[in-house]
């Protein structure tokens, strides 16, 4: 594994994007930053600008308006980068599967590296998902 990827795994900066979620998943993500879970000890930070990010964290069912923006954000993210989908909505549209406004699941639009199920997933589940992502990159099977 190159030093580039090694450093990336040690300090993944996360940009958090909601494509029409019910806000519950987002609160669980913010929980990961609290003293109880403290993901900064793995070098993870929440950044405000997509240009600084290494990981795009997507929640929500991906409605027609926001998916265009999500695609643009993915294109603006400096490569190498990773995409994580959090919550049932982001995985398969969850309860909005028959909605007129959510035509396709998110991974039809942008390549997703890791799926974290749950409605909403617990912070433990989110951290476990990130650990799986790191394993995947180490094995070299991530989409990047």
């Amino acid at each position: 594994m190159s030093i580039k990827l090694k450093a990336l795994l040690k300090s993944p900066w996360v940009f958090h994007l909601s494509t029409g979620s019910c806000n519950n998943c987002d609160i669980e993500i913010l929980d990961c930053l609290t003293p109880r879970f403290d993901i900064e000890r793995f070098g993870m930070l929440l950044v405000g600008s997509i240009k600084h990010a290494d990981v795009l964290l997507i929640t929500g069912s991906g409605n027609r308006k926001s998916m265009e923006r999500a695609k643009r954000l993915y294109e603006q993210m400096p490569k190498p980068c990773l995409v994580v989908a959090v919550g049932e909505c982001a995985l398969s549209r969850g309860m909005f599967i028959h909605s007129y406004n959510c035509p396709v699941p998110i991974d039809k639009v942008i390549p997703v590296d890791v799926y974290i199920p749950g409605c909403p997933p617990k912070p433990e589940a989110i951290i476990a998902g990130i650990v799986k992502l790191i394993e995947k990159v180490k094995k070299g099977t991530a989409k990047k």
Partner: protein
């Protein structure tokens, strides 16, 4: 030849290492204050290595050369100023007339490079951050220069850093006198604004303008800016130590005192940063031009009276 050695070894390498370490201390103490564990020791270095390995994006319609040059200008001036400070600190006799003024000028250039980068990146939030940074410079420079003037007066109107140091070595550090203490307090608060830490992180306000002037920077540009900021975390406190607290001596037990002085200043910065909310830009301007300038002027008057 020897100057190139100083430039590379002391100015760049040593300053960068201490700066990275200081930024780790800052993050770790912040985590401890919030009952968290905090990042591992090498985290600041890993961040920079990672950023160097990433793609550098240039926003469409920005002025490319200015956008890419701005971080380099800032980093170069930080390296220069720390070289100057180290040479003065090790050989006080080697200083030239007016190097205090040169240092003061060079310390402004990192902020100016951030302004240039912000305006060059053609992003409304970046421009907003850059204009706030500009107002912040205008507000804190006045009390900062007045506070430094106190040391000039007390060392018998000399503008050489070396002479200020030797004067302190003979007569005791300036911070022991009333005027010196007042001036140091003013300078520490100005330093907080110079390093853009809370309560004066108005230009970067994560929650309002998401990172401010640096919003469009990615990859190596951002890495250089981060390195510059980390090095400033050493350079500015080092400057204050030289002019107020008698410099860092590198022999024997004095080395320990020097390290303690520096860690004390960094810890003070971190504690101020963790116990205060962010102020608005108009409050910052009022604060610096009002109470801070008045305290600095009182310190000057006391210094002229020989206190």
């Amino acid at each position: 030849m020897i100057y190139i050695f100083y430039f590379l070894f002391f100015g760049f390498l040593l300053t960068a290492i201490i700066g990275l370490l200081a930024s780790w201390i800052d993050r770790k103490v912040t985590a401890k204050v919030q009952y968290r564990v905090g990042p591992p020791l090498l985290q600041p270095l890993i961040d920079i290595v990672k950023l160097l390995g990433k793609e550098t994006l240039i926003p469409a319609g920005s002025s490319k050369i200015t956008f890419l040059m701005a971080p380099v200008i800032g980093l170069a001036s930080v390296i220069l100023v720390s070289t100057l400070l180290w040479i003065n600190n090790i050989y006080p006799a080697k200083s030239f007339l007016g190097d205090l003024i040169v240092v003061l000028y060079l310390l402004v250039i990192p902020s100016i490079s951030i302004i240039i980068g912000g305006f060059a990146s053609r992003n409304p939030l970046a421009s907003l951050g850059a204009s706030r940074e500009m107002k912040l410079i205008l507000s804190y420079e006045l009390p900062f220069i007045l506070a430094i003037l106190v040391t000039v007066i007390k060392s018998g109107f000399t503008f050489r850093l070396g002479e200020i140091l030797t004067f302190q070595a003979q007569n005791g550090a300036f911070v022991r006198s009333w005027s010196g203490t007042l001036a140091l307090i003013v300078a520490i608060i100005c330093m907080q604004a110079k390093l853009a830490l809370v309560p004066f992180d108005i230009p970067e306000a994560e929650t309002e303008i998401v990172g401010g002037p640096l919003i469009e920077y990615s990859g190596s540009g951002l890495a250089i800016y981060r390195l510059m900021k980390n090095m400033l975390m050493f350079t500015v406190p080092f400057f204050l130590i030289i002019v107020f607290i008698g410099g860092l001596r590198l022999d024997g037990i004095h080395l320990l005192y020097g390290v303690l002085k520096y860690i004390g200043l960094v810890a003070l910065m971190t504690v101020i940063r963790n116990t205060n909310p962010r102020v608005r830009i108009d409050q910052a301007v009022k604060f610096f031009w009002g109470p801070m300038t008045i305290i600095a002027i009182i310190a000057i008057i006391l210094a002229l009276l020989g206190r």
